[in-house]
Every structure is written in C-alpha cells, then in structure tokens.
Point group: C2
Chain length 193, copies 2
DNA sequence: TCGCGATCTTGATATAGATCAATGCCGGCG
DNA sequence: CGCCGGCATTGATCTATATCAAGATCGCGA
C-alpha cells in the first residue's frame, strides 16, 4: 500500500526499513471515487497528500462562481493543502478526484516527526518546495505575458501526459482561457501541421 | 549593521547572543547604488539576500526583450536567487536596486549552518517558504482571471507602501499590463472618487 | 539653473480572447 | 438499446487591453 511513496522517496534518498516503518506510521490511506472530494477532516492540520494512484486536482471558486484549477496531481505527485491561504480571500478551495484514486495523507505532526527522524527527508522536502517555487514563478510570468496559444503549447510540451489525460475544459481552466478558445487553438494547430 | 536582520528574526523566534554571532559570521554585507545589479559572484550558491535598507526588484527579460518584474523587495524582505530556475528557460534573470540599498547576503553553506545550529531558524524559514508559496498561488489565479483594474486595486490594497514607492511603469510591469493602460486606470479612478 | 532624457498622459486604432448562442457528438444510465 | 446531459465545436459579436503615435511634464546631472 505504501510502496508508491517508498519508491518515490527512494529516488531522492536512501530509506532504511526503520524509516519505512516510521513513514507508514504517520500516513493514512484513503480511496477516492471519481468526483469525490478530499476534505480536511477534523482539526488536524494536513500538510499534503501523496497520490499513489489516480488523478486529483486542486482548484478555487472565485466570487463570480468560476472555477480555476491551481494544480493537477497524477500519480507520484503531492497535492498540498492550502494551509495558510489568505484568510480574507473570498475564494473557496477544493481538492477532488478526476479519476478513481488512492492517496496517502500526512498531517503536520507526522511531517515534523519525519523531518526529525528520517535522515534525508528534510533536505528532500526542502528541495521539493524550492523546485515548486520556481515552477510557480515561471507560471506567473507565463500567465502575465504569454498568449493563450503560447501557454497551451508550453503546457503540452512540459506535461504531455497530463494534457492527454484531462478533459479539455479543465485544461482551459488551468490555462486561464475559455473552453471555446482552447477548442479554436487546437483546430488551428491541427490544420497547420 | 546586522540589526535589521536580527530584529526581523526576533519577531519570529528568540535569538541568543550566540545565535547572533553565528548569523553575523555567515552573512556578508553589501551596499548597492541606485540601479546597481546584485549579481551572483563566484560560484557560491546564494540562497538569498535580506534587504536591510532600500529597495530591490527581481525581474526577467523574455525573448522579445520585455522586462517582467517578479518581485519587489523593500526593507525587511528577502529576495531569493533563482537557484534552480529552469535551465532551458530562454529568459534571463536579474536583481537590481531601485533605490540606494544595503543587503545582507547568505549563501547555501551559511544557510545550512543556521538550519543546523540556530534553534527556530529552520521552522521559521519553512514557514516563510510556505507563506510565499500561498502568495504565489494567489498571484497566479489573480493574473489568470482578474482584469487589469482588479489586479491594480488588489495590489494597492495589499501593498500600499510599495505602490507608493515604485515608478508606475514598474508597477505596470509587475501587474503584467502596459504603462498606458495603468495610466488610464488611474485616471478613471481619480475621476470616480 | 538649465536642458534633456525618462516618465507619464492622451488619443486613435487594432486585435486577442470573452461572451452569447446554436448545433453536434458521444458515452453512460435507465 | 435508446435517450439524455455533459462536452466539444463553430459562428457572430463585443470588449478589454495592446500597440502606435504625439505631446506634456518631471527631475536629475552637468
């Protein structure tokens, strides 16, 4: 059950059997049906969820009722809880399953335990955070300056497997364009080549 | 000389005299004239710079030669180096001083030392990273969906002191709009109220 | 203090993309 | 197996913002 997570971590640093036991003891497993929400249950501050199987997405709904996808999360990705999202934000935050999925949940306590006990975990976590920060900067600049078509091409090139897997209207939502526009872009491109 | 940084950190966790000495020993001081660049010198992997006085900005120049401001950094902010920016990115990255400034530079070695030696530093660093990640998500969604005017209003509300301090064309660059458009927005609003 | 380059403003036009509306398509549910 | 509802496509407009082009104004440096 925990194998996908172990594999993922072992690509980043070596994992002893003790480490594995420690990890298994702090994550909890959960199955999600297609369309099901991953809600924050109780008061446990969740750090994130590791997608062992399937496909999730996180998104917000703005005050005009429109949905904006923040992140896609296929197997071997982390979806982070919006722990600390601006409290005065009018938008509401959701995570749900695009396909039937299995996730491993980690709360803050567990995370701190691993930071402390598992050698390599802290550095690896930190590296991941940093990498993501850079990706976000890139996305910001991209969204501010590239055209719809450029953003689409970029996405296709960077995440071909995700592009092939999500419905078009969700991709449009991620890219910040309407489904109609995305459809037209695709048509133009299919003609061109 | 290090006081601004000590003050900053002490608002986050207590700092002993030993801690202060450790910090002082790993950061280096530098003065920047208006318009001067903060370049990566030598091979030392820099983590970031703390702005003790003045005002910096980080920005990229895209392949069309246009400048896009990523971050403004007034006193008591960190500017992070793009440590790990996508290597295949065509854009070039810069940091320079908008006003005469003083910065405290920290490299990776120093950072790791503090992570290890100064209690509270690691947690505080982590908290900062997290907060910034959230801010970036917000900015992404904002840039994808809000109008130019909404983005402007938002910025004014969130960072009034920065808005008052930077030239308009830089604010326009940060917001991803042209100086002309920003000028028109301001005119409309001054009329309205 | 003067003058010139940088910055800001204002106007006219062009255009990418949104919106509104209709039609077609296909896949799962009864 | 057939029908219905979400999804994609296509077309016709509309609108926000970019772009191009002059002026106007400000402020710094000689």
């Amino acid at each position: 059950m925990y194998e996908p997570l172990f594999d993922y971590l072992e690509q980043r640093f070596p994992l002893s059997d003790d480490d594995k036991a420690a990890i298994a003891s702090v994550v909890s497993h959960r199955t999600l049906k297609k369309g099901e929400f991953l809600l924050r249950e109780g008061d446990t501050a969740r750090v994130g969820a590791f997608v062992a199987k399937g496909f999730l997405r996180s998104y917000v709904i703005d005050n005009k009722g429109k949905e904006h996808i923040i992140q896609f999360a296929p197997e071997n990705w982390w979806v982070s809880d919006k722990s600390g999202m601006n409290p005065d934000t009018t938008a509401s935050f959701f995570i749900d399953a695009i396909e039937e999925s299995e996730v491993l949940l980690m709360d803050l306590t567990g995370h701190l335990t691993l930071m402390d006990k598992v050698p390599g975990y802290a550095k690896s976590f930190q590296a991941g955070i940093q990498k993501r920060a850079t990706a976000k900067d890139t996305r910001i600049i991209n969204s501010l300056t590239a055209t719809a078509e450029e953003r689409y091409d970029d996405f296709i090139k960077t995440y071909p497997s995700i592009a092939a897997r999500v419905p078009q209207h969700m991709l449009a939502s991620y890219l910040g364009i309407t489904p109609e526009t995305l459809s037209r872009i695709r048509k133009l491109q299919s003609r061109k080549r």
